[in-house]
Amino acid sequence: MSDHALEFIQHLQSLAQKNRGALAALRRSAGFAPGTYPPAFPHVERFVPASSHAEDSYRLALYVTAALFARHPQHMAGQSLATTLGRLISARDSGSIEQRFVALLAADAEDVPQYLRQLVSLLAADGHGLDYASLLQDLSAYLRPSQFDGRDDRNKVRQRWARDFYRQLTTQA
């Protein structure tokens, strides 16, 4: 886990405790394309590396993570999103969560924030926390355009999510 990501999550956690207005602005930013809602800038932009351009995947991931955190401010280190969802599905005994998860795996980069928002809302409803720092890193890989450098980081992330999710299901079954 990079220190930078942890620092960012700590910053969000302190906002959640001290600055509820900031949290509201971040929550509101989810209705816009990542990184385009000016009231969110003061809370996120300071963490964007100086060399980044506007569409840099890390910058976008910071905004998406901040918006998700604002919706469900419960960071729990070591609990990846997919594992937590796997736990939720067995707790709720509901098949629709798996469908939503599969839809997330099949999603394009621009739709991912939308699907994540729904899933995080589900987690919030049942009070399951998740590791936002690892989500930030996954998103930064997921949102990186892969067709240029041929690294296919997106696929690796999707595979890891699928593995975490279904292993959680198998261990509980």
Binding site: L105, R158, A162, F165, T170
Partner: protein, 519 residues
């Protein structure tokens, strides 16, 4: 005797000299130069093995004529010092009359009676009828897309070689002349094995069948009376011995020369031949048998299966339950042991044609080296059999797991047909080839380890080889699966089973990799 095409003098056998030069020679020249020839240079597998069998029959008969009976120490000497050329040439000269291609009474390896018989007198067929590589009649195309209604002219030397291959490998079935159908040739559907020496002379010594008591009566086709129509109509007969099998006229053919010189042929007469009845107690010297569901079955080529997977079939098996190796290998092994050469490698060539009824499916030549130690030690052969079986078993499990994964990625995974469709997709995909080619590349190191009885090293080595092969195969199935969400789900669900399969193969000390290496 149009053009007096005599195979003793006429250049018709392509050979490769030890200096690399390839040219065509006649039979006399071939035996005279046998020490300087590294092997036959024929390129089509059926003709290649048929030519070797022809040379073996000639050598065998020449030795019987010139030496009477002979012992292994004679062959040992010939192996070391070269063939007794005078004996061979004397034999060929004695039967010179029978080696003319267009002889009125004894055309070489043909049936002269077809020229006068009522059934064939008026009929001729294009030469492609006796060429396994050509499209003819209803036979599906193997390589050639030519139409056979307008037959081209073909040089007689080339056609003769094709005819010899055809006589050995003709699949059984429809003939419609003289008889409706006929038995298959002696090597049909067989992967024939031939031990190879450094020179043609050595190869002939290694593969020569011993002189037995019955050998006197075992005559090749040219020493027999010319078959008449009654012989063609007769019931199938058992082979009198290897010489008969090596030169059996399994179809009756008569080449029709295009002109007086007889250099080319475009039409032939064709009919059923001297049908061969198979006797399970007298197997072909070059055929190996392996255990099948109902008794022993002849080893042939099938699907994409490489012949090394049946390697133990060539090795001695005391129990007689698993394999019946080709007799020619035990002759070779005996000769080399007697020779007192330090244990080394024996090069062998496995070649043949696979057919389904009358359809030719594929032909193939494979060449590999066997440690001599394995040919002599039954327990070593047993060990090899065990390790190859482990390889097959892992593949079986991998196939099951991978097919289940493919099924999960398909619409309606629970439908009863989905499973079999998934297995077909797996079988036709790249994974089986990836798995077995990876294992095959490890074989040259495995064989000496087994031959030297290094039990721990073998075990460790083969575990590693299987692990690597399984990883390559799994990665290729995953690539085949794609990266749709459904595929990712299937993959995530099946991965634990796959990792479970590999667990016993991983070294105990190494920790599990965090990310499976198939990404």
């Amino acid at each position: 005797m149009k053009g007096r095409v005599c195979l003793l003098d006429q250049a018709w056998l392509p050979v490769r000299y030890t200096d690399g030069q390839v040219r065509e020679v006649g039979l006399l020249q071939l035996f005279a130069d046998a020490d300087r020839i590294s092997g036959l240079a024929e390129t089509t597998p059926p003709s290649l093995i048929a030519l070797y069998r022809l040379l073996l029959a000639i050598t065998h008969r020449a030795f019987i004529r010139g030496l009477g009976r002979w012992s292994i120490s004679d062959i040992k000497r010939y192996y070391r010092e070269g063939l007794p050329v005078a004996v061979l040439q004397d034999y060929l000269e004695h039967w010179r009359e029978r080696f003319y291609v267009f002889h009125p009474t004894w055309p070489f390896m043909q049936v002269a009676a077809l020229a006068t018989a009522e059934e064939t007198r008026e009929k001729s067929k294009p030469w492609t009828q006796i060429s396994l590589a050509s499209s003819n009649g209803n036979a599906p195309v193997l390589f050639d897309h030519a139409v056979d209604t307008l037959a081209t002219r073909v040089p007689v030397a080339q056609l003769l070689r094709q005819m010899l291959g055809f006589l050995q490998y003709t699949p059984g079935g429809l003939v419609k002349t003289v008889r409706d159908s006929d038995k298959a040739g002696p090597l049909a559907n067989t992967a024939a094995i031939l031990p190879l020496g450094d020179t043609l002379a050595q190869t002939l010594c290694l593969a020569l069948h011993p002189a037995s008591l019955e050998a006197e009566g075992d005559l090749p086709a040219w020493e027999r009376p010319p078959p008449d129509m009654a012989a063609l109509l007769a019931a199938p007969s058992l082979a009198t011995g290897p010489n008969d099998r090596y030169t059996r006229l399994s179809r009756a053919v008569l080449l029709l020369p295009d002109d007086e010189n007889g250099h080319t042929v475009s039409q032939i007469r064709f009919a059923a031949g001297l049908a061969l009845a198979e006797d399970e107690h007298a197997p072909d010297h070059m055929a190996s048998y392996r255990a099948g569901n109902t008794g022993m079955v002849r080893l042939g080529f099938s699907e994409g299966r490489a012949i090394w997977r049946d390697l133990p079939t060539f090795l001695p098996d005391a129990s007689g339950k698993h394999a019946l190796p080709a007799a020619v290998l035990s002759h070779a092994s005996k000769l080399l042991t007697q020779q007192g050469v330090t244990p080394g490698w024996l090069a062998v060539m496995v070649l043949g044609v696979a057919s389904d009824k009358a359809k030719l499916l594929r032909w193939r030549v494979e060449r590999f080296n066997l440690p001599q130690a394995l040919l002599g030690q039954e327990d070593a052969a047993q060990v090899l059999r065990h390790y190859l079986r482990l390889g097959e078993e892992l593949f079986g499990e991998l196939r099951k797991t991978a097919s289940a994964m493919l099924a999960k990625a398909m619409p309606d995974p629970d439908h009863k047909d989905t499973g079999s469709r998934a297995r077909t997709i797996f079988d036709n995909g790249p994974a089986p080839a990836a798995y077995f080619s990876s294992l095959e590349s490890r074989l040259p190191q495995l064989l000496p380890l087994i031959a030297n009885m290094q039990a721990d090293a073998v075990d460790h080595y083969w575990k590693e080889a299987r692990l690597a092969a399984a990883e390559i195969a799994w990665a290729s199935v995953c690539r085949q699966l794609g990266d749709s969400a459904r595929a990712l789900r299937a993959r995530a669900q099946s991965e634990p089973f796959y990792l479970g399969l590999l667990k016993p193969l991983r070294p105990v000390t190494a920790s599990q990799p965090k990310e499976p290496s198939n990404v």
